[in-house]
């Protein structure tokens, strides 16, 4: 008996994308987008009661469910945020009706593709879902009418396209590495199927570099800051804060498959993670634009997460997986503050978001106990640079003219989703409930 819930969770955004592509009115589009994202969150909230449900080609495990919940939550808050941003962009003519329709349809297709990539148990299906996600992400990024956005979309397509091709080569080599050859390679059985070890290592190196590009890991990371800074603001939240999580899950699955002989791929993973961390931290020092700052902070922390995945083991994976969740929430909060009217309340909300981003690197302290000696110096330098560069931006300065305190009903409605995300960050950092700790431990034990 097939469980329909996971299928419905994946199909809903794709169906909404098809409807939004047909609906000409941007006003109706805004409400369909927000309604669909809210319904998706409600359905996704039921998934933890459907763990390991039997669905062909899908695998509903603990990390997958967690990412589905995270994706649908941020997609919902972003859709409500874009309810304010789309009319504002139409008024300033950076969007027109056709581009608003493209944005809404591509946004839902992107969310659907991310969910499919996360829940897929088949390597080829994951690859295909990420290819759809890249195409939709280019649509979302390039929706706004500017040369910089068009260039950012082209860069995204090119660098992620190269990553996809390298990942496809790795997937084919992984087929060759299986002993005996199986018709399909599945994520859920990758760890248990015997492999020819050198062949597995070579395939994994290609897969790590390929999917690493989609996660914004060096050396193919260049698309991420541009997409986050130049694209349409609500779209860049989905692209920058959510799309990178699906490839990170792939990296986690590959690292688990390499146990107990991680060998060269684990070293590659740690090296790429360190380079990304240091590169992101250095760019962060020079960045002046708030959206680019959030992108570089995210890049540095993705590097830290990749190092944690590379180190392996339950403690390090916990230290990578928890910041990944917090990072998505904190980055979304900072980016959703973009374009808010300059009031004291909005400035304090943005300050809280930056503070949340600044404390995340401290989770690397968990890594220091497990890391090799040679890792300590670059890891410590990267973490200190990232945190200090973010803390140096606080408090967010208010304009020199007197600004209102804020707090009217419309502003509170706009800020409520951001506060919800920041409250979740605070809860997970300071007082994580017991069942949530168990949940993260189950993920880390993979």
């Amino acid at each position: 008996m097939i469980d329909p819930l996971p299928v419905v969770v994946i199909a809903l955004p794709f169906a909404s994308a098809a409807v939004l592509a047909l609906v000409g009115s941007w006003r109706i589009g805004i409400w369909i987008n927000a309604g669909s994202a809210t319904l998706l969150l409600l359905l996704a909230a039921l998934l933890p009661w459907h763990l390991h449900a039997p669905v062909p080609l899908l695998h509903i495990g603990a990390p997958e469910t967690q990412l589905v919940l995270l994706t649908s939550l941020v997609a919902m808050t972003t859709s409500w945020f874009s309810r304010r941003d789309v009319p504002a962009s139409l008024a300033t003519r950076s969007l027109d009706r056709r581009r608003a329709r493209l944005y809404h349809a591509a946004c839902q297709a992107l969310v659907g593709a991310i969910l499919l990539a996360v829940l897929s148990d088949n390597l080829m299906l994951t690859w295909l879902a990420l290819a759809i996600a890249i195409a939709a992400a280019a649509g979302v990024t390039g929706a706004v009418r500017s040369q910089a956005a068009a260039t950012a979309a082209s860069n995204l397509l090119l660098l992620c396209g190269v990553g996809l091709l390298i990942a496809l080569l790795g997937t084919l080599l992984l087929h060759v590495a299986q002993e005996p050859h199986a018709a399909t390679v599945r994520w859920s059985t990758l760890q248990s199927v015997p492999h020819h070890l050198p062949a597995l290592h070579l395939a994994c190196v290609f897969l790590l570099i390929g999917y690493g590009a989609l996660a914004g890991v060096a050396p193919l990371h260049g698309w991420l800051p541009d997409a986050a800074a130049e694209g349409f603001a609500p779209g860049s939240i989905i692209v920058g804060a959510l799309m990178v999580n699906a490839p990170l899950l792939v990296l986690l699955r590959l690292r688990a498959a390499l146990n107990p002989n991680p060998g060269l791929p684990a070293a590659v993973l740690m090296a790429l993670g360190l380079i990304t961390l240091l590169l992101g931290a250095c760019c962060l020092l020079a960045s002046t634009d708030m959206r680019r700052t959030a992108a570089f902070a995210g890049m540095a922390q993705i590097g830290m997460i990749v190092v944690a995945i590379g180190i392996g083991g339950p403690a390090a994976t916990f230290a990578g997986w928890l910041p990944m969740t917090l990072l998505a929430l904190a980055r979304a909060s900072v980016l959703q503050c973009h374009g808010l009217p300059p009031t004291q309340l909005a400035a304090w909300t943005r300050t809280a978001g930056i503070l949340a981003l600044a404390i995340l690197p401290l989770f690397a302290l968990f890594l220091l106990a497990k890391a090799a000696v040679w890792l300590l110096l670059p890891l410590g330098v990267g973490v200190l640079l990232t945190s200090s560069a973010l803390l140096a931006r606080l408090p967010i300065p208010l304009p020199s003219v007197p600004v209102p305190r804020g707090g009217d009903l419309s502003e509170i409605a706009a800020l409520a989703p951001i506060w919800l995300q920041l409250a979740l960050v605070l809860l997970l950092v300071l007082a994580m409930p017991g069942p949530v700790v168990d949940w993260f431990n189950a993920t880390a034990a993979r």
């Binding site: 195409a135 280019a138 397509l157």
Partner: protein, 187 residues
Amino acid sequence: MTGAAALAAALALALSIALLCARRIGTAVIICAIQALLSAAALAALRWQPAATALVAFALNGIALPLALLRVVHRPAMSPVIATRNGAVGFWLAVLMLSTLVVAAFTQARPSPASDSLVLGSSIVLLGLLLIAQRSHPLAPALGLLSSQNGLLLVASATPDLPLSARLVVILPLVPGLILANAWLRQ
């Protein structure tokens, strides 16, 4: 039939090197189309099932995409000349040898009936990526990805028991198609 497949794959690799040395974008597109024909020939020689997959692969990689590329090439704003990168040929060949050695070592450790196609295909993929890294022409990324797709076809032909869904993913040039569509729209 593996001898014929290996010959076709070797010729496709030689065309990859020719692609890197091409000085006119129109010539490079034609080289890419011939490379797709050779890759499809290798698939046919290895008796890929169903037989139509080789035909579809050639129709897409060897006819449809090159024709679309030529349409973009002939637009007035597009330069017909590929910029020269002095001294880079030696570097490409060194990287080609290195990559071939790595994959050859891999296939020697794990021999299969079509391991030649695996080695040659992987080299073509990596050379295609080098063409992209060169950034010598606005259409170089689309050409490099198309050439890499041809290499992937050869790698897939050497992969035993590949399911039909995976074959379909490999023969459909999704990534080069996306890049080309983007280049088309931006022009």
